[in-house]
Symmetry: C2
């Protein structure tokens, strides 16, 4: 099984063999978590740092009236709570959307890692800053675009993020319409209509209840997608 954490980080810094070896070691310990379970809950002061090895999870908050707001999608290679030690308590929760395999690493191991492997430390910084850039772009997306463009923009981003970790299979997104709706801040009913319209126009396709992208260039043009904010290395 490939190490998607290493693949992701190598977009942020040129890792060497010793870095890869250490990362492989750290990913040995993992657990399987079913869909729709919390990895960390709001208010926790977690003991371990978690990284997604497989599946999709998300950062989310629940509002007083019960609505859920998804603020981040975490795919294989992403860290959940790298820096939470500095803030103390989690101000949001992290939960699985699909079944996930999640690596857990003790805080002391992380501290050693950052100290002994400066290239990895730099790549971790890069990853943190890219996460922030993604948040900013999501803000633009929600604030300024109509919901069909929003949906298309989100799909473009995920397509590129999967590409950036060298995902072996063709892009196929297994989220439910409710999960997509909570991410975009729209209702399930409206999400359904948006998806239907994008399908009608051939911008996306469904296979096995999963969303696929027949022509990424067309989808990017439709959603005015500019990949700069992902800070990926110039494509090889």
């Amino acid at each position: 099984m490939r190490n998607f954490v290493a693949r992701k980080l190598s977009n942020g810094a040129a890792l060497q063999d010793s870095d890869h070896a250490r990362l492989d070691e750290l990913m040995r310990h993992w657990k399987a978590i079913p869909a729709k379970s919390d990895i960390i809950s709001q208010g926790d002061d977690p003991e371990y740092v978690h990284a997604i090895l497989d599946g999709i999870s998300c950062r989310y908050k629940i509002l007083p009236d019960g609505r859920r707001s998804i603020m981040d999608l975490l795919i294989p290679g992403d860290f959940c709570d790298m820096n939470i030690a500095i803030l103390g308590r989690m101000d949001h929760s992290i939960g699985t959307l699909t079944p996930c395999r999640v690596a857990y690493i003790s805080r002391s191991e992380i501290e050693e890692l950052l100290f002994d492997f400066p290239r990895i430390a730099r790549a971790m910084w890069w990853a943190t800053l890219v996460d922030e850039a993604i948040l900013r772009e999501w803000l633009v997306n929600m604030g300024q675009r109509r919901s069909d463009r929003q949906m298309a923009h989100l799909l473009c981003e995920l397509y590129l993020r999967y590409a950036a970790i060298g995902w072996p299979d063709e892009f196929a997104l297994a989220l439910t319409q409710e999960q997509l709706a909570d991410t975009l801040g729209i209702t399930v009913v409206h999400a359904q209509r948006v998806i239907a319209a994008l399908r009608q126009d051939g911008l996306i396709a469904l296979r096995d209840r999963q969303i696929t992208i027949p022509d990424i260039a067309r989808l990017m043009e439709f959603s005015e997608f500019n990949p700069d904010y992902l800070h990926l290395p110039p494509e090889s």
Copy 2:
């Protein structure tokens, strides 16, 4: 003139006299920038790190059709581009909304600072992570709340952020309706109606074309404001 950078950072770590002295030294060099000018533009690879000493500026992007999306408001004490060296080029711009005084610090001075003053370094980390938490809350705000609550929520946040740097005067926000509208992702016309409605209900007041808050507790209740995400120390 008080050092708002030091005041802000002391919310994230207990600074000592030597830390304060060094921060005061670093803020010696500054320039005045008129309203509506860029401090850093998209695509730049800035040589200096900037901190706001006075006034309000913002992170923003311009969309292809000319609309502006404001993704962050920077008030005195906030750093603009702490970590941009790692990402290389700016994926957004930073510009003033009101006239500002902006300190500039060379990258090498920053590196020395982070190395020689571990308490400051830790506080900088704290500030970066709080910025991220604010972005996430803005995402919740835009996605899930109606525009009157959105506006109220934003005002509550700014009220607390000004309080957290020990702002000497009563809170009074000098942004135009267009600037607020671009921040919330609504139109100027609608921003005007929202402000008028909040005023009608006595939740906000205008004085000198500036927004003031007669009763912060009422405004917080109205907007379902939960201050946890700002990670401020328990109020003294």
